[in-house]
Symmetry: D2
Subunit: 142 residues, 4 copies
């Protein structure tokens, strides 16, 4: 069961397709980084920041500088996951986002499949040199 | 502009994320096969046939035996595509599905990005030997 | 058994890892497009044309405009494939490359797993507008 | 510069293709987990343990239970990486493997691009229940 404060956390649904699985019959673990990113991207979008617009307007982009993921239970073909994203730490040049993937079950007793943290830095899109996260983005995420 | 008979065709929305793009700045062409499969899978699901349930109940599964795709225009980060699936030909042991990916635009003048056909055979899940598509599945798809 | 004229065709070895497989226990069909591209890329490299160098020097790049693949037999975890690439047709603005994936077996009786054709166009890297394939590249590939 | 004790560490070469990159013009970070796995797989193979043979003979398989990766510098199209794998910790039911990805440069001053640890558990292939790593595998890896 998910704790009650999950209500305030951004959540994005992910469906599992053949492309996500491997010969073990379960979701290939590296794909959780993709699921986490889809949720982060949709979270930013709900706050008004599309990835392409961010690049075009600011000349910069987020890059992932660190990932840590724990895998608790496998997902399978046709499963629906609920993937969350919430701010854990924020500085002027980097953010750490906490993320979780839950298995959606008919009885609503969602099961935690994987959880992790993703550290993001900000770089100039052309030079890839580190810089400060644009203030409006940082404000919105807090 | 999409022809008026698109109204009757199954359509599934796909969002473009970083994972889908390549260093050319556009969606990596091989990923359209994934988008097409997501749409086919959701189409089957609306007809009552989840992939895992199909395997568990029939002991068989669809396998792709042939793909043909033409790429007309690129998709980019943050784009939303509408991916269609419709039956083109069906036999007892194989089906051909016609699929298209359109770029969803604010003015509704969707643009065709890619189109193709996917030929599916039916095999036993364990032996991978070809067999007949279960009649209820074939009926529902027609 | 591979016909004797395979000797003159460019061939690139590919190992199958977990990432390449799906829950059917076999290689996910869309991944053959990746294997074909790796072989084409190495073929171009042996002719003196790295992808990045091509972009930097010519300001253009190849884009895939059409793919057609037939799947004959599945590959599995740990298999080694031999993937070939050879020119089928060439024009000033596009090329068609024929490609095959064979299963390498200990007794050398390689088995054809998949075969297809990839049509490539040439575009400006920034505008993505079609253009002529640089003459030295075209010459080398013939 | 790589420290001199890298000589004793297993190392596997990885070439960067279009499929590995994203619209940022660099390798998509999640793909380093794939590169790490290819290196681990080849390391196990050199010790006599192919993944499929392991499954067939022992009825079990490794599953990834935890990953942690730090990204130091980006890789690009056509780059060649050297990916290492070495045992960090081993128990009866789990292992932790330390892995690094270096950019191979012409002057041999390889640059560290990414590093991480991968924790592996052992499960029954059918039930996915945890079990003990087969003794011969554990012995060979030490």
């Amino acid at each position: 069961m998910i704790s009650s404060d999950k209500a305030s956390v951004f959540e994005h649904p992910i469906r599992i397709y053949w492309e996500d699985t491997d010969a073990g019959g379960i979701v290939f673990y590296a794909n959780y980084l993709r699921f986490f990113e889809r949720a982060r991207t949709e979270w930013l979008r709900t706050l008004g920041f599309g990835q392409q617009v961010l690049r075009d307007e600011s000349g910069g982009m987020f890059v992932v500088s660190e990932t840590a993921v724990k895998y608790h239970a496998p997902a399978r073909l046709d499963d629906t996951l609920a993937v969350t994203a919430e701010m854990q730490n924020s500085g002027k040049a980097s953010l750490t986002i906490a993320q979780r993937a839950y298995l959606r079950t008919p009885d609503q007793a969602d099961r935690l499949l994987a959880e992790g943290t993703i550290r993001l830095g900000w770089v100039d899109s052309l030079t890839l040199k580190p810089g400060r996260i644009p203030a409006p983005v940082l404000e919105a995420l807090k």
